[in-house]
């Protein structure tokens, strides 16, 4: 363990009400040496104000092209126990549900092969096992798959680990079976997850409704967001109960509806919906979950192109298919994915995300290639310029 006072800046971060990552590192340091070197190297970073990790480094397991991030210290003499400190991206179960049995198995394996440090979870959704020496990579992987039944997620130019919100498991808003869909496509496309077939990464995230609790629209090349067709459902008695309990339905719901689709008839004590105006923003439902629910004809909006800023700026996903039914075996969606990947793979430059490719070659070409008809739902508005090719 790192002695108190040897890492004064990090010791400071043991204080305060929020759980401390320093305490976690120290705790792991009671059993292993790597966390202690990590802490000391980190203290050095706090002093120098730069990272002390070297650039990249390719490591991996047999038969896979990703799933492990190679990482080497730039001061291996000083911090020999983290000279090589690679991480595993372990593919989480849909919705991040675990039995304690499964978690304990992982802990035990990681105690054997790794630093004992984890991230629950990484920002893509994987269970991250943080830091193992090179020689342990393969045995650790073997133990994970054979003993615990866990596989690796994606890294590098592959299909990245899909993720999904809690959905029907615990949320009344879910319009699609996010967990089953996530599990199904993860299994269907294992090969794309484990072996680079393309020039860059591709991400899929699945939210059960437009609240988008996995931030799919911002972080997935293919965001899938549950929604419904037709009118949302109103339980007028339950609405009245809200109102009778003092809920200000006029100001908190009716006036906040972005399309003025709602009206509160104060005399009849009835909430009226002009269903054709509703844009499924969830607001009224969010405010009165006991009284309102999505409609009965459920499905999802499929979007395309969400991503982080580099290199051309961040992109939110764009509507590609306003409404698609999504039921097992999800053939329509899988076919669509294959068509998108084919086109992307054929035309993309290295490190070009699908959004960037569409922008470069044009939405019209993309739609044509994947066989989707243009519709006004795809855009906020038609073009303003007369530069029509």
């Amino acid at each position: 363990m790192v002695e108190k006072g040897k890492t004064p800046m990090l010791d400071e971060l043991e204080r305060g009400p929020w759980p401390s990552f320093v305490r976690e590192i120290k705790r792991a340091g009671r059993k292993k040496e790597a966390p202690n070197d990590l802490l000391k190297q980190l203290e050095l970073s706090y002093k120098d104000k730069v990272t002390h990790w070297k650039h990249g480094g390719v490591v991996g397991v047999r038969g896979y092209g990703g799933g492990v991030i190679g990482r080497y210290s730039d001061s291996p003499e000083e911090f020999p126990n983290i000279a090589a400190f690679h991480t595993f991206r372990v593919n989480q179960p849909s919705g991040w549900f675990y039995t304690t049995k499964a978690l304990r198995q992982i802990c035990d394996i990681w105690e054997r092969f790794g630093s004992g440090l984890t991230n629950f979870h990484g920002s893509t959704g994987d269970l991250i096992l943080l830091g193992a020496p090179s020689e342990n990579i393969q045995p650790c992987f073997d133990a994970l798959t054979e003993e615990a039944g866990f596989d690796l997620g994606g890294s590098a130019s592959v299909l990245r680990t899909p993720s999904a919100c809690v959905g029907p498991a615990r949320c009344e808003y879910a319009c699609i079976d996010t967990l089953d869909l996530c599990n199904d496509i993860t299994h269907t496309f294992q090969d794309y997850i484990h072996r680079p077939h393309w020039g860059y990464k591709f991400k899929i995230k699945i939210s059960g409704c437009p609240n988008d609790c996995v931030a799919a629209i911002a972080r997935a090349d293919l965001p899938i967001v549950g929604t419904w067709r037709g009118a949302l459902r109103i339980d007028q008695d339950a609405v009245r109960e809200y109102v009778n309990n003092g809920f200000d339905i006029e100001n908190e719901v009716v006036r906040q509806c972005p399309t003025e689709a709602l009206e509160w008839d104060a005399n009849l004590k009835e909430l009226r919906l002009r269903a054709e105006e509703c844009v499924r923003c969830m607001h009224c439902i969010n405010m009165m979950p006991k009284a309102l629910r999505p409609g009965v004809e459920k499905g999802a909006t499929i979007l395309i192109g969400g991503k982080a800023p580099l290199v051309k700026g961040a992109r939110l996903g764009w509507v590609l298919i306003p409404f698609m039914k999504l039921e097992p075996p999800y053939t329509e969606l899988k076919d669509l994915l294959e068509r998108i990947w084919d086109w992307w793979d054929e035309h993309a430059m290295t490190r070009e995300r699908v959004a960037e490719l569409i922008e470069r070659l044009g939405m019209a070409k993309f739609l044509k290639a994947i066989g989707i008809e243009p519709c006004p739902e795809m855009v906020w508005q038609p073009r303003t310029n007369a530069f029509i090719f």
């Binding site: 990090l10 549900f97 800023p309």
Partner: protein
Amino acid sequence: MATDIGPPDFRAMLPEVIKKNYGKWKYHEILRPGVLKHVSEDGDILYTIRVGSPRLLAIDTVRDICDIADKFCNGHLRFTSRHNIEFMVTDESKVEPLIQEIRNKLGFPVGGTGRCISNIVHTQGWIHCHTPATDASGVVKAIMDELYEYFVEEKLPAKLRISEACCGNMCGAIHCSDIGIVGMHTRPPSRIDDENFLTWCEIPTTLASCPTAAIRRHTTEDGKKTVRIIEERCMYCGNCYTVCAAMPIAHPEGDGVAIFVGGKVSNAKTPPKFPRLASPWIPNNPPRWPEVVSAVKNIVEVYAKHARKGERLGDWIDRVGWPTFFRLTGIPFTEKHIDDFTGALATYRTSTHLKL
């Protein structure tokens, strides 16, 4: 050797009550910060206790978590998309003891639901990455210590989501948060390692990586092929370093963070939107980044004071206007706030709608 087995089927991980009521939940209530009650169509009830987590966990802590789940939750638990821990029980009488146990055993806070600040989504920083312009865990810890009350109490007009990414790659997906903190380099990657250049890097890929075409080919006096930076074109994005290790960009004095505000992801009421620049650069000041913490706190407090109930930070600012935001927060508006990237045009005010 087993390969391509994929993740375990989630169905094996679900508690009984969820298996039984899968897809049949009817409504929920937030009983208090961190405690959700979901009721199913069959009348079954599920209580969820949400627990703040540092995300970086020692396996012994994971085992402690498992102990609690074994004791109270029949050996099931889950994590959220923002890295919190969720314990679920069906028996209301277990809620209070469970919370006690969490407090005693883990010392982690219960909260983060509804109109709270939830966990800060963040990334590796100096703990495990090669490109950061700042740390992640340390900044997050410092901020959450200061904003702790907003996690455990519902004191805000609406939910507030903070994210942190240690470099422009923005792994933390800060690019749609209410408050996004992003590591910023402000020096060009000019210390090029000519010796190793051709071993580590491909020249065409390196040239192509630069969004502003600031990298040009160069041959050293002794004939080594390498590159040079046209410094006034560089916007310090670091993309060249991502593809080429011979172009380190990190710099002790030049690195720091920028703060963006007013993004959101959900479609609730208003469409998703990107956050916009509040503070272009604040220096790294470990271990507690006091300037960053107070900048974030100031924004949270101004928002808490002025926004309407139910109004997300960005919706509030968009309603009252950015001039008002800058006035109320006292953040100076500079030429750096005026966009000059590809979408700049759409940001210029093309109307006389002005508060004067």
